[in-house]
């Protein structure tokens, strides 16, 4: 038994298990809520319940006042839902967030293309159009596999009857293994979407830097196509990292795009190029390519990062040491079975990083 909790003002949905606290469920599902002590004494995680019933749990009487209890306030770190809920938290809703509703779709596989030795491009036709923002993701339900699998949408929203996903084969990953080995053209999968807070902040006029690694090209591809199709004139830089040439997928496509649009700049980087690659581009990690290109000075940009946790981590450090900070860095981490559980104590210095 679990309850669905909608978090306003962003509209994020979380599933809270029986006996689980709202904060625990939110953090585990990648929805950030303000918090500090985690055990009901500091009140940092106070939220307003708008609809539904909640057990306030072990909230300290000094952290959650009687008058607040009467008003329906709870501490997310102690509160346990007793029904589906709508809560309002002290979180910022982005002015550029369109808030398209999440819906269920049936997606028919139209094509499966090998993009690199590890990555397949899977193309679907949807049973109805899906409104989404470039950068958002969908959840796939796979036969015989518990839970859903999240994949970023690689096609632009202008093409919203279709779905292009880039699926990297994860060692030991049940979902990606099934997609790579068993999925056939013509198969129909239930999907839901769109999800996520990863999208271009178009209202911010600064030039944009995309840094992508692994199969993390999907969101940036959608976001860049969306910007270029709209005639956006800001400078757009895409840094794409791969080990060697065979894994640098979509290269010809992106290079052609760069030739077509003078404000789009494509900078691929290989950290272990093979001899037969005859690589003359940047040798090193993708964040190093960005440091090299911008001479370690990033301020005045918006940065969007998409890829595995180690790449994101290195890119954040590179950007911050180049004077670009949390408010201008947006990211989508691809955490997979291969990354293991997040361990170690987290400091409260950053909200989203």
């Amino acid at each position: 038994m679990s309850y669905e909790v909608r978090v306003e003002p962003t509209g994020d949905l979380i599933q809270v298990d029986e006996g689980q606290t709202i904060l625990d469920a939110a953090l585990r599902q990648g929805v950030w809520l303000p918090f500090a002590c985690g055990h009901g004494t500091c009140a940092t995680c106070k939220v307003q319940v708008l609809e539904g019933d909640v057990d306030v749990g072990a909230a300290s009487p000094f952290a959650l006042m009687d008058m607040e209890r009467d008003e329906g306030k709870v501490l997310a770190c102690c509160a346990i839902p007793e029904s589906d809920l709508v809560i309002e938290a002290d979180i910022d809703v982005d002015a550029d967030f369109q808030g398209y509703p999440v819906q269920d779709f049936l997606a028919t596989v139209t094509e499966i293309r090998t993009l690199s030795p590890r990555i397949k491009g899977i193309y679907f036709q949807l049973n109805q159009a899906m409104d989404f923002q470039a950068g958002q993701y969908v959840n796939l339900q796979l036969p015989g596999i518990t839970g859903t699998r999240a994949f970023s949408i690689a096609n632009p929203p202008s093409d919203n009857q279709k779905l292009e996903l880039h699926v990297s084969l994860v060692p030991e990953g049940a979902g990606t293994t099934w997609l790579h080995e068993h999925l056939q053209v013509g198969d129909v999968l239930p999907i839901s979407g769109p999800y996520g807070q990863f999208f271009v902040r178009k209202s911010d006029p600064q030039d944009v830097i995309f840094i992508a690694g692994g199969s993390g090209l999907s969101s940036p591809q959608s976001m860049i196509l969306d910007l270029l199709q709209a005639g956006d004139t800001r400078q757009i830089y895409l840094f794409q990292g791969a080990r060697h040439l065979a894994e640098l997928y979509q290269r010809e496509f992106l290079q052609a795009l760069a030739d077509q649009y003078p404000n789009f700049h494509y900078i691929p980087a290989l950290n272990e190029p093979l001899e037969e690659d005859h690589w003359e581009g940047f040798k090193g990690f993708v964040h190093e390519a960005a440091q090299d290109y911008f001479a370690h000075q990033f301020s005045g940009h918006k940065a969007y990062l998409c890829g595995p946790p180690v790449m994101i981590d290195a890119a954040i450090t590179a950007l911050m040491q180049g004077r670009l900070f949390e408010r201008d860095i947006h990211m989508e981490r691809f955490v997979t079975a291969a990354d293991g559980a997040q361990t170690g104590t987290r400091s409260a210095l950053f909200k989203r990083i």
């Binding site: 000094f62 008058m67 002290d90 954040i316 990083i353």
Partner: protein, 500 residues
């Protein structure tokens, strides 16, 4: 989608944005004269993100309800003779240190935040400091009230404010805060708002409040809960300050690093007294100082400094040395107080055999080798009726004002001595950390009011130590000081409990 609701941040901004003054006929720079002299560069105050969003109206409502609940529990504690439910009368000596050493710091924090808030031209930082100032005033008041009940039944709590200003070991916490308050506004915020309230606060509050809980002191525990609901706000302010300074200008990074180095060192020196309390003064132990340091600094602080590294901030200087010191400082400090127990405003004692075993277990690398033999000697002397009190007054470190009791970490039998020559005078220090701080700003520290120097200069009455204790410190000599054994505190406890 329906019209978007305003989030709390926007509501707060709309509610407060016009609170700042326009300076129509005065130069704004002259209105905030301290904002630039430390070298900190602020390019845009509008980038300040309010770390907590609380209107004054809501603030008063919250605080009023907290007070009502807190005082209801104080009343219940007093009416039920709560002092009889504590684990052991030795515990009250931790409260004596807290009331004379820590509670006055809350008052200094109030003064410091009120002053500092005035110096910021950014309205967000100004309001946040104002609220913290009022919180700190509430904390000192509630601490006094929480402990006033004990003053009716135990010695040593009667004149804490006077003692804070004069007693030799209390100059350690007093001068710590004086140093911060005498600094510029941004250094004060890094010193108190960040280093103390964020990085080190758990090492001060958690041990005292858990210590109270483990030893049956409901009044102090309840104060702790009441204060902790404010501390979260203080911690977020400390974090916002550090992020704001580091993001405003890259020239701020080396200045902030220097302050972090200084205040982290000063803070850990100050916490020596907490280390001693945890390992020696709590009859029911919470955890050892070493364990607390590992959990609250090495793990939690490690995660913080890992994140700060993204800004180019490194671990505080001498953090590696402190990692070694966690094995030693509590033992060195309690031994110093034990041997100066005739001049302390609280009681000292030899740990029981059970406690010595606990210390051996918690400090397997150091206790049996360096410290247990001293206690065995003290026990033998006490058994012969020769309880040891030193005749000498200790030499003090010019920076932290702690007696020179710390040893070299590569030789725990050798006291560490450092010195600097400045304008023909020689100044003494307990450590490289304290010497560095002096060398950076010698003009500040040559003014230190060092209690032992003052005594020798005849500024504190005398001539005998007992005269100073009685007349200058206002201790009840023979009741407040000396060993727990044979003290009036002990005698009264036995009487209440019907023990022979």
């Amino acid at each position: 989608m329906a019209a978007k609701k305003l989030n709390i941040k926007d509501k707060y901004r709309l509610l407060t944005r016009d609170l700042d003054w326009e300076f129509s006929y005065q130069d704004r720079k002259q209105a905030f004269p301290f904002e630039e002299f430390e070298g900190i560069k602020i390019t845009d105050w509008s980038q300040w993100e309010d770390p907590f969003r609380l209107t004054m109206d809501a603030y008063w409502k919250y605080q009023a309800e907290k007070e009502r609940k807190l005082y209801a529990i104080f009343d219940a504690f007093a009416q039920n003779n709560g002092q009889l439910n504590i684990s052991d009368p030795r515990y009250v000596n931790a409260l004596k240190i807290f009331l004379t050493g820590v509670s006055p710091l809350e008052y200094q924090a109030f003064q410091g935040f009120a002053h500092t808030g005035r110096q910021f031209s950014g309205v967000g930082a100004r309001v946040a400091c104002q609220m913290q100032a009022i919180d700190e005033l509430r904390h000192v008041q509630t601490q006094i009230h929480a402990m006033s009940h004990y003053n009716k039944f135990f010695d040593g709590l009667q004149d804490w404010s006077h003692m804070h200003d004069r007693v030799w070991y209390l100059s350690v916490p007093k001068s710590f805060f004086n140093d911060a308050r005498a600094a510029g506004p941004f250094e004060f915020m890094v010193a108190i708002g960040f280093s103390f309230e964020y990085v080190l606060t758990n090492l001060l509050f958690v041990p005292f409040m858990s210590g109270a809980a483990y030893n049956g002191d409901m009044a102090t525990v309840t104060f702790g809960f009441s204060a902790q609901s404010d501390e979260a706000r203080h911690m977020t302010l400390g974090l916002e300050v550090i992020k704001f300074l580091l993001e405003q200008h890259e020239d701020n990074i080396p200045i902030v690093q220097k302050w972090i180095d200084k205040w982290f060192w000063r803070g850990t020196r100050l916490l020596t007294i907490v280390a001693m309390m945890m390992d020696y003064m709590l009859p029911n132990k919470v955890m050892s100082w070493k364990e607390a340091w590992e959990v609250y600094f090495e793990e939690a602080g490690g995660a913080l400094f890992k994140d700060l590294a993204r800004y180019g901030i490194r671990m505080p200087k001498y953090a590696d040395l402190i990692e070694q010191e966690k094995e030693h400082i509590s033992h060195q400090a309690w031994w110093t107080f034990y041997t100066h127990g005739h001049a302390a405003g609280f009681h000292t004692w030899i740990p029981t055999d059970e406690e010595l075993d606990w210390l051996s277990e918690k400090y397997p690398h150091t206790f049996d080798q360096y410290y247990r033999p001293r206690w065995e000697l003290a026990k033998a002397m006490e058994a012969k009726g020769e309880r040891f009190y030193t005749k000498a007054l200790p030499q003090l470190c010019t920076t932290c004002q702690i007696p020179m009791l710390f040893t070299e970490m590569d030789d725990p039998t050798q006291i560490a001595y450092r010195e600097s020559l400045y304008q023909g005078e020689r100044y003494h220090f307990c450590s490289d950390g304290c010497k560095d701080i002096f060398d950076e700003e010698p003009e500040k520290y040559i003014h230190s009011w060092l209690p032992v120097h003052q005594i020798f200069q005849g500024q504190c009455g005398g001539p005998e130590v007992e005269d100073i204790l009685r007349d200058y410190y206002r201790m009840n000599v023979g009741a407040d000081n000396l060993d727990m054994k044979g003290s009036p505190d002990e005698a009264r406890w036995k009487l209440w409990k019907g023990v022979a």
